[in-house]
């Protein structure tokens, strides 16, 4: 399907604008800090077959994986006008349980099959499970929280009250969940309204043709990118520190074969799935690959299904890059996804050494704090990710204290955090000297220290605490991260990368995040 260059440009613009507008509504009306302050969500449009047409990506990890949710919904449910499906099951199109995806069919008048779909995904601050925030050290998915296979949340425009109640009964902060779902529903409505408006303005056939053409367009751009890479097989390996239970390292291996505008990305040789929660399901591996390929393209390739057409992904089942039930997966989304990116770039650095940067911090340094807030007489659950150092690139040093690769969430303002949660931030600064040394230095990580004002449960899900972010072209590695608890009496204990622990009022949790790798040898 090929449209003329002008119509293609105009329709690309219009589709992207619809997805972005959905994002504005969701971001500005969401309730949990994840959505409202940190913008941990994405919105997308799909065609009638459930293929991604446009996505406003705020968070790369959602890219590429949302289509699997939509397909799971289409396979399992018969959606009628006014229906909205909900899903978070990592083994039925989801990523990890806190990411809740809503899918709405868009019908044209008089048609019996959906013309298109709108979907949005948001990271909810709590989805039940063994610890507040649903990111605890678990060994199977049943401990991680409430699991929703594709079910109808709205039926013919009316809320399915029983589904809502079931959902709320299984999460810790009901009001917040309700507000977030309402915001997600509003964003879907905007998406549907705007797409219907576009159909009314330019015609059904034109919009349908544009959807096909945009996918072909992304396909062509991606092939053009791959053609610029010298043909060959590029191999690399990297590893996760551990899974929080057994000793590591846990290797991830990849071989990327590039030939004639196509690539095969093969993870054969990667470690089997593990007890702890760092298992990535297939959706995550797909997302990470999607992200790396989009970075590689010099032009702004629209984020749609066509981008992945020239790329074949092989992720052997029952490994940490394609986990099977009942594996725990909360950390696969946030931590293993970063390592998959690292290993892909490490392989590509051999193919395009003049473009690829050294490893960035490689961990989102996930911190979850929850408990009962005695000051405000309510339960609380607070989640944040802490940035690290970026890897240096050929030509310039890595940025410090910045989110890289699969995440881009904002920090919660200290003045908001302290006003709404029983915590106090006692330190937040660059971790000087943590970036790798070299011709171009790696960026520094961060130091973040929080004091708990009430008895709290803390979960840490962090990586690169044992295996450092690598430098490139002779550049030094970034420093590994370190986690501590500083007790009220001043006693300081080092904590493992992944742990659950209880804190008493006055205790502080201190996270020092990894630096980025350097690029190039320092001249003596």
């Amino acid at each position: 399907m090929k449209l003329d260059p002008v119509t293609l440009a105009v329709m690309n613009n219009r589709m992207a604008a619809i997805a972005e507008e959905m994002g504005v509504v969701l971001g500005q009306t969401g309730f949990s800090p994840n959505i409202k302050e940190r913008r941990d969500f994405s919105c997308a449009l799909f065609d009638g077959r459930g293929e991604l047409v446009a996505q406003a990506a705020h968070i790369p990890v959602h890219l590429g994986s949302t289509p699997l949710s939509v397909r799971a919904v289409i396979e399992r449910l018969e959606l009628a006008p006014g229906d909205v499906a909900i899903v978070n099951d990592p083994f039925a199109g989801g990523t990890h349980l806190p990411d809740v995806t809503l899918v709405a069919p868009i019908f044209l008048d008089g048609e019996r099959r959906p013309f298109a779909y709108a979907a949005d995904r948001a990271h909810h601050a709590d989805i039940g499970g063994m610890a507040p925030g649903s990111m605890a050290l678990a060994t199977e998915i049943y401990q991680e929280g409430f699991r929703l296979p594709p079910v109808k949340l709205m039926v013919a425009g009316k809320p399915a009250r029983d589904v809502f109640e079931l959902f709320f009964a299984n999460t810790r902060v009901r009001d917040e969940r309700e507000g977030d779902l309402r915001a997600q529903l509003a964003a879907l409505r905007v998406g549907a309204d705007r797409l219907l408006g576009l159909v009314a303005a330019v015609g059904r056939a034109e919009v349908a043709a544009a959807m096909e053409a945009l996918k072909d367009y992304a396909d062509r751009l991606m092939r053009a990118t791959l053609k610029k890479i010298p043909p060959g097989v590029y191999r690399a390996a990297d590893a996760m520190d551990d899974d929080g239970f057994d000793r590591g390292p846990i290797p991830i291996r990849v071989a990327i074969e590039v030939r004639g505008g196509h690539a095969t990305v093969d993870f054969t040789g990667t470690a089997p799935q593990v007890r702890g929660s760092i298992n990535a399901n297939y959706a995550i591996t797909l997302s990470a690959t999607f992200y790396v390929m989009k970075c590689l393209a010099a032009e702004a390739v629209p984020a749609n299904e066509g981008l992945m057409r020239p790329i074949k992904l092989i992720a052997p089942p029952a490994t940490i890059v394609n986990a099977l039930p009942p594996a725990a997966v909360a950390g696969g989304n946030v931590e293993t996804s970063q390592r998959i990116v690292d290993v892909l770039f490490r392989a590509l650095a051999q193919a395009a050494p003049e473009r690829i940067a050294a490893a960035s911090s490689g961990s989102m340094s996930n911190l979850t704090v929850g408990g009962y807030d005695t000051f405000r007489a309510r339960h609380f659950s607070y989640y944040e990710t802490i940035a690290g150092g970026a890897g240096a690139a050929p030509g310039h040093p890595g940025a410090s204290g910045i989110h890289t690769h699969m995440t881009n969430t904002l920090n919660t303002p200290i003045e908001a955090l302290e006003a709404y949660y029983p915590m106090r931030v006692t330190e937040y600064r660059m971790r000087r000297g943590s970036g790798g040394r070299g011709k171009f230095a790696g960026g520094d990580g961060l130091v973040r220290e929080l004091e708990c004002l009430v008895k709290s449960n803390v979960s840490l899900l962090t990586e690169r605490r044992l295996i450092a972010p690598w430098g490139l072209a002779g550049g030094g590695d970034g420093a590994v991260g370190e986690n501590y608890v500083v007790r009220r009496n001043g006693q300081r204990e080092k904590l493992p990368g992944k742990t659950n622990l209880g804190l008493a009022p006055g205790d502080r949790i201190r996270i020092e995040t990894p630096g980025g790798g350097a690029w190039g040898r320092t001249r003596k």
């Binding site: 293609l8 969401g30 309402r182 890897g391």
Partner: protein
């Protein structure tokens, strides 16, 4: 009474002298903007002394843009010295192979950590000890800084510690920016960034204003702010960050002043220039936003909401590897410029306009600059080959694609904010605006276009009529908001506003107060601003429904900030009338123009020769000194009594 804009290449002046309106334009003097101001005043006033001057200055803007601000020392809570660098810990480009962010304005060595801690409810957990004050004063003194910025956590809730530091630093006689005085709102990074930028630009602004005041003698000088109000020089020296986007803001205010007389009070400004295009929404008043990012740095003082896209007449068109036509963001700029300027080869929007017959080569900048149509033809023909189509189709395609970019920009400021663009007129100006306005309006369903007279003077005009005013805000975080209580909490703001405006020469009776509240559902993080009246909660629900498609009337609401807009009305100014049309307008020539899909011979009119009340049916081309307008066949043009062209859909 004179309004002045020193915005760009030219310094523009508009004056009312004895009831008579005078305008003047002269080249700017970027090394010392005051020089052109003084020179221009001499000419426009015929040597008579100025009585009152309001002007929009780019001194603060340029200090930030060119990184030529002051050496600033920053005093923040110990342990948080790097907050200025960490920002919100995000990156602006998601898919860059290596993320970058702007250089912090205060280097690490000049950040001073201060002991003590204030909490969100205003309680002081650890007081700031006298010994600590003495220590930081010594460090500040040794820093060699020209300006100090002070920003402590939760100072909006209790400014005691910030004030103590300010008192300790006062004897050092440096420019001092204290966060709670500039912005008493929560969210530490944005308050900090605003305070630092203020400190960074203040010394340049102070020197400039002192210089200007010396030259002006007894004249009363006022400075435009980014929110469209003017302030006295004392405040401008203390809070220059408020002037950072004053030029474009003055333009929007000027546009409002100009067409209000004609009953147009809801419009979208569309200022399409060479490298970028500014759009903004005017809904009986200019829309204000509270957060902006000039040169990539966060500023959280109110600014007129102007949305900029990197596309304009100089944007380069090309076909990408996937077979899509791309227009911008690369721009040929002024040098080499579009192919038709005679130096460059790349096809641009201006070249497409020329090929399409929307631009009259002989009339470019009043005939003062020569264009080379053959070069535009060649550049567009090359593009057409890549597109596998005719040159005419390629030219139309470039116009369509750049218009699609513009359409998206306008959707951001209308649809995404709960407004329907069809309820607004499109006010087009800038070198390329009037050429693209008709087709853009058709795409958006807009039925009326206004092409203001003397568009180059809109900013100076806005300065001339700008009311004296300032915005005040404070974080209140009322989770069970009650009107009486909120009004009581606003009292200190009102007292301060009255005192400050009176001190700047406003008559107490003329001060208008507009008290507003930032409201959200309890638990949300994005607020909607509503007037603080008896029905403000209801107004909030309605605004939420309008903007986001739903409301939750049973959900508890929270008032986060109070905002006070205090203004003392500006002079009422009326634009000069133009003579009535004596006869039907006569074309000065004819030219071949692409209209719809085909070429047609279209009449060309000189704007100066169209009298008040005259009408012209499209298609037509209208030429004037600074721009060419394309009137498409769907529109009829009517000239109003003041020389503004109104294009109405037939």
């Amino acid at each position: 009474m004179v309004g002045i804009d020193t915005g760009g290449t030219f310094t523009d002046l508009v004056a009312i002298v004895g009831g008579e309106l005078r305008v003047h334009k002269l080249p700017s003097t970027p090394h010392d903007p005051a020089q052109a101001v003084i020179e221009g005043l001499k000419t426009i006033l015929g040597g008579a002394p100025a009585d009152a001057v309001t002007y929009s200055s780019t001194v603060a803007t340029n200090a930030l843009l060119e990184k030529k601000g002051a050496r600033v020392a920053l005093l923040v809570d110990a342990g948080f010295e790097d907050l200025i660098e960490i920002g919100r810990q995000n990156r602006t480009e998601l898919y860059a192979l290596a993320p970058e962010r702007p250089e912090p304005l205060v280097p690490r060595a000049l950040r001073i950590g201060v002991g003590g801690r204030t909490l969100f409810d205003g309680k002081i957990a650890t007081p700031l000890a006298p010994a600590e004050l003495a220590r930081v004063r010594k460090l500040a003194q040794r820093s060699g800084a020209e300006a100090f910025a002070v920003c402590l956590l939760h100072s909006y809730a209790n400014p005691t510690s910030e004030n103590a530091i300010a008192r300790a630093l006062a004897p050092l006689k440096r420019s001092l920016s204290v966060s709670h005085r500039i912005l008493a709102e929560y969210r530490e990074f944005e308050r900090l960034s605003t305070t630092v930028i203020n400190a960074y630009v203040a010394p340049r602004m102070v020197a400039h204003l002192e210089n200007l005041e010396r030259s002006l003698g007894r004249a009363r000088l006022r400075v435009m702010q980014s929110n469209g109000y003017a302030i006295g020089t004392r405040l401008a020296r203390e809070e220059p960050v408020r002037t950072i986007l004053s030029g474009p803001a003055a333009g929007v205010v000027g546009a409002g002043d100009l067409v209000r007389a004609m009953g147009v009070d809801r419009f979208i400004t569309f200022d399409m220039g060479g490298t970028s295009t500014d759009v903004s929404l005017f809904d009986r008043a200019a829309r204000i936003r509270s957060l902006s990012y000039p040169s990539g740095y966060a500023v959280r003082t109110p600014v007129i909401d102007i949305h900029t896209v990197g596309a304009g007449g100089g944007s380069i068109a090309s076909v990408d590897a996937g077979g899509s036509l791309k227009v911008g963001p690369q721009s040929a700029g002024a040098n080499p410029g579009p192919a038709c300027y005679g130096r460059g080869e790349s096809p641009t929007v201006t070249d497409a306009d020329l090929v399409a017959g929307r631009l009259v080569a002989e009339n470019f900048l009043g005939g003062s600059m020569r264009l080379f149509p053959a070069r535009a033809d060649r550049a567009i023909a090359r593009l057409a080959r890549a597109m596998r189509t005719s040159a005419a189709n390629a030219a139309r395609g470039v116009i369509r694609v750049v218009n699609a970019n513009m359409e998206r920009a306008i959707r951001v400021i209308t649809v995404e904010c709960g407004h329907d663009p069809r309820n607004f007129a499109l006010m087009a100006f800038g070198g390329a605006g009037p050429m693209h306005a008709c087709e853009l309006a058709l795409d958006l369903g807009i039925r009326r276009i206004v092409l203001p007279r003397n568009p180059g003077l809109l900013c100076a005009w806005g300065a001339l009529g700008a009311p004296l005013g300032r915005e005040y805000s404070m974080t209140v975080r009322e989770t069970a908001p009650e009107l009486r209580r909120l009004r009581a909490r606003a009292r200190p703001l009102i007292t301060r506003a009255r005192a400050e405006l009176t001190a700047q020469g406003a008559k107490p009776a003329a001060i208008k107060l507009d008290l507003r509240a930032d409201v959200r559902y309890r638990g949300q993080s994005y607020e909607i601003e509503v007037a603080l009246g008896p029905r403000f909660v209801n107004d909030f629900h309605q605004a939420h429904r309008r903007t986001f498609g739903y409301a939750a009337p049973d959900a508890p609401v929270e008032v986060v900030n109070l905002r006070l807009r205090a203004a003392a009305g500006g002079p009422s100014i009326a634009p000069a009338r133009i003579p009535r049309a004596k006869s039907k307008p006569m074309p000065i020539s004819k030219m071949s123009v692409i209209v719809g899909g085909a070429r047609r011979i279209v009449p060309v009119f000189a704007r100066d020769e169209i009298g008040a009340g005259a009408k012209i049916n499209g298609p037509a081309i209208i030429v004037e000194l600074s721009a060419t307008a394309y009137l498409s066949p769907e529109f009829t043009l009517r000239n109003d009594d003041f020389g503004n062209l109104h294009l109405e859909l037939r």
